[in-house]
Symmetry: C2
Subunit: 91 residues, 2 copies
DNA sequence: TGCCTATATAACTTTTAGGTAACTTATTGT
DNA sequence: ACAATAAGTTACCTAAAAGTTATATAGGCA
């Protein structure tokens, strides 16, 4: 499972720390991600067992993503990365 | 500075946590890295001010790498990542 | 004379990540 | 009829990351 070495995975996970969220909303939180990369990223995270995908059988579609326990175990790392990145961009 | 999104940077930094080390030794700790990627990676880390490069003017060449203070500030993140990776590969 | 050393670079190729744009789906409301 | 909706897929293309192979260096020593 490559977490590092990918551009989007950590970012998606980071936003999921806030709790379950609809697909579109999550995507909006990451303005620069393309539609394709978003889907691809969440699919991989699902395979990695870091997130769950909940599909509601309605029209138009409704899909929610949320962290699994395994995903939640990344919380401190993700937050540290975020903090570190912000501190360093001050330089 | 892209730490995330690169394959080798975190690994190189992780090995430097043990202290200053000669170029060749460091490279040996990462068996799968190609000669080119090793050089390229340390050069970028140097530009990022995460590591220092010390050149000894001898023949054959002797070069040492060590973390800067900024590099050392990554310690807890790097160690967490390492620990997490090991725990998870148990699955 | 010519080989060995450790570190690095250059030229080139392959692989993978990522982006774009068009299309699908099924139901509701007009 | 048909437009709008949210989520996703597909085919295609480009750019960036990484790998491979060959070469340079300069002094010590057989």
């Amino acid at each position: 499972m490559k977490l590092i070495g990918t551009k989007w995975k950590p970012l998606v996970l980071f936003h999921l720390l806030e709790g379950p969220i609809r697909s579109g909303k999550l995507q909006n939180k990451i303005p620069d991600i393309s539609n394709k990369m978003f889907t691809q990223t969440v699919r991989e995270l699902e395979k990695d067992n870091l997130i769950n995908r909940k599909v509601f059988p309605v029209v138009p579609p409704k899909v929610e993503y949320e962290l699994t326990e395994k995903g939640k175990s990344l919380e401190s790392i993700l937050k540290s990365l975020d903090t570190w990145g912000k501190e360093m961009s001050a330089f």
